[in-house]
């Protein structure tokens, strides 16, 4: 059995030790290295080419977001699980923009870590339930207070379907295959979705999907 190779990056030894213990309980997981700052994490990722990097967002020298960007630039096949104390969308959005697809709160790390690593390794998104809830709350509150229309209603059923698949991390080609459409059509749908929802990037689209509870 090929085990999932995991690199841990956190500047706090205690946290790292805890995470290592959690991972060691999963028989198909293997911790291949531990870094205690962002720069070291980038170097080790280049060298070890792990399947998943579990990255603390706030680290000295090079913070987790910048380290994530560099790791994904250098080792495109790897996936990053961002570990954070903050559930705020400022963090989530930046982590998504940097390429991370899983966002885990440290509070619930112990319970959700295995799930997150597995989802990330499969190219899927994962968000701690508390994060999803907060994003949704913020979204609803804003709609209520500003009286704005929920732009989700503007989407066609096909567009909603594609929105979910994009948010789950599928490429246009995958989606085209799954739905028996041309890649060009899928791209057009994607552009329409972004325009209708007033979003600028896939990262924002994922955030939107999490907010709406389309993905978790």
């Amino acid at each position: 059995m090929r085990r999932l190779r995991v690199l841990l990056a956190d500047d706090h030894n205690l946290i790292r030790a805890g995470l290592r213990l959690v991972i060691s309980q999963e028989p198909d997981f293997q911790v291949v290295g531990e870094a205690n700052n962002g720069r070291q994490a980038v170097e080790m990722a280049r060298e070890l080419k792990p399947d998943v990097v579990v990255m603390d967002i706030g680290m000295p020298d090079l913070n987790g977001i910048e380290a994530c960007r560099q790791v994904l630039d250098d080792v495109p096949d790897t996936h990053v699980v961002m570990l954070s104390m903050h559930s705020d969308e400022g963090y989530v959005l930046r982590a998504l923009k940097a390429g991370a697809r899983a966002y885990l709160l440290k509070d619930s790390a112990e319970a959700d870590l295995a799930l997150a690593i597995r989802a990330a390794a499969g190219g899927k998104s994962f968000f701690s339930p508390a994060v999803a809830k907060l994003l949704l709350d913020d979204y609803i509150r804003k709609l209520e207070r500003t009286g704005a229309e929920d732009s989700y209603e503007l989407l066609t059923p096909r567009e909603r379907e594609i929105l979910q698949l994009v948010a789950e991390g599928k490429s246009s080609k995958d989606i085209a295959n799954m739905l028996s459409l041309s890649v060009y059509t899928v791209e057009t749908h994607r552009a329409n979705i972004l325009q209708k929802l007033n979003l600028k990037s896939v990262a924002e689209l994922i955030l939107y999907a999490v907010r709406k509870g389309i993905i978790s």
Partner: protein, 450 residues
């Protein structure tokens, strides 16, 4: 530092002294001038009186001599005439009267010398008159033969004596006049001396007064300079102190925050992980035990949250992790979540690598302004605009709340904002009126950052 009282005491005395001295100087000059004028007037009167006396006496002497001469000529004419005229007798009697009254009425205030001369003339005239009387008693024949000869022999010497005495009288009179002139001259020079002294005194004391006044003014100026310098220094010190205070506060907050986050937070975090694993390991244990562990876990969770919130309050780690704009957006959302104020954050042209003190200043400013909007003014909406352009950053936070009068209510929060902005050589303006919302605006120049 000196109190105003210490400065005021001697100055006040000096001021009084100067005032009194000026008054004294004026009085001195008025008195000196008035006395000089009075003296001059007196002198003038004296001189006029002396001249009048001189003229009176001169006239008296001249009149006397003329009368005596005329008397003698008339007497000689009468005596020598073959037909004596009664008119001559009458004239002689009249002249006799004039001479007597002249001698009698000669100014009595004359000096003894002159009076002696007058008496001598009187005596001589009496002698002369006696001779004439004797000759008048002669028979006509005798008179015609002897009178002229007798007159030449006996009367003329007496008349000559009279002339000599009258000349003396004149000389004495001239002398008196000269003496009077001399006295006047002396008085005049006395007045001149007095005036000169007064002038010297006035000039001298005036000079001293001017010097004293100048000294006084110089001293006042020096005092003002000293006080101004003290004021400037203490203001500078105050500014430095408050700048340091802000700096120290920020440093301290960051240290405590880091300590809380790195030590307490992480330890509690690790504890949470352990509790989780413990809880999982106890899945088959008695429910009571599991409940206890779950309870411990929830207590630890609460601790983690409060420590995290405290650390965030002290130093928002977003500033370090995500940068200024993200931290502001976070602050906006945080305010929206925890209050009834919906916050919109817009940022444009904000440089990526602003120095930390700019980040902190802008962040704290927005934090404080949003806090005021949400807590005190009950605003429904607040807007944060951060714009970087033309070498400066403009931060504007406006709300639609109750507003306030910025001239009257200046809380510690606003003072803190002002201090932070001033440290970066910026300008803070607060535009608000009761019932009209509020706009806090800060302009920060960026040149100073480099």
């Amino acid at each position: 530092m000196s109190s105003p009282g210490q400065f005021g005491g001697p100055s006040q005395t000096l001021r009084w002294v100067l005032g009194v001295a000026f008054l004294g100087l004026v009085i001195l000059m008025v008195v000196a001038g008035a006395s000089a004028l009075a003296n001059l007037n007196r002198m003038h009167a004296q001189e006029r009186a002396a001249r009048r006396i001189f003229e009176e006496r001169t006239q008296a002497i001249t009149g006397l001599c003329f009368s005596i001469q005329t008397y003698n000529q008339t007497a000689e004419h009468y005596l020598a005439s073959p037909e004596p005229s009664h008119a001559d007798v009458e004239e002689m009697e009249q002249l006799q009267g004039e001479i007597d009254s002249s001698l009698r009425d000669f100014p009595s205030d004359s000096v003894a010398d002159e009076l002696a001369s007058v008496r001598s003339i009187e005596t001589l005239f009496v002698q002369q008159k006696a001779l004439f009387d004797e000759m008048l008693a002669w028979p006509m024949e005798t008179r015609r033969v002897r009178a002229v000869e007798t007159i030449h022999r006996e009367v003329d010497p007496i008349y000559n004596d009279i002339l000599v005495w009258s000349k003396r009288l004149r000389t004495a009179n001239d002398r008196s006049m000269r003496a009077a002139d001399q006295a006047t001259l002396e008085q005049f020079s006395q007045i001149q001396t007095n005036l000169t002294w007064s002038l010297v005194l006035a000039l001298g004391s005036g000079l001293i007064l001017v010097l004293a006044s100048m000294l006084y003014i110089l001293r006042l100026e020096r005092q003002i300079q000293v006080r101004y310098a003290e004021l400037a220094r203490s203001r500078g010190e105050l500014e430095m102190l408050s700048a340091r205070l802000v700096e120290a506060q920020e440093t301290e907050r960051r240290n405590i925050s880091r300590e809380l986050h790195d030590e307490v937070g992480q330890t509690l975090g690790a504890l949470l992980v352990d509790f989780g694993r413990l809880s999982a390991a106890l899945s088959s244990a008695p429910a009571e035990l599991r409940e206890q562990v779950d309870h411990m876990k929830s207590v630890a969770e609460r601790s983690v949250h409060s420590v995290r919130n405290l650390a965030l309050l002290l130093r928002p780690s977003m500033l370090d992790d995500l940068g200024l704009v993200a931290a502001l957006e976070w602050q906006g959302r945080e305010t929206s979540r925890n209050s009834g104020t919906e916050v919109e954050v817009r940022a444009e042209g904000v440089p990526e690598n602003l120095p930390d003190e700019y980040n902190v200043t802008i962040y704290r400013l927005v934090q404080e302004a949003l806090n005021n909007a949400a807590r005190h003014s009950g605003a429904r909406n607040a807007r944060v605009n951060v714009t970087g352009s033309g070498g400066r950053i403009v931060v504007e936070v406006s709300d639609d709340g109750r507003g306030f009068d910025p001239r009257r209510s200046r809380g510690v929060g606003i003072l803190g904002m002002e201090e932070r902005v001033r440290r970066l050589h910026g300008r803070l303006t607060i535009d608000s009126q009761p019932g009209r919302g509020a706009t806090v605006r800060a302009e920060l120049p960026l040149e100073a950052a480099h």
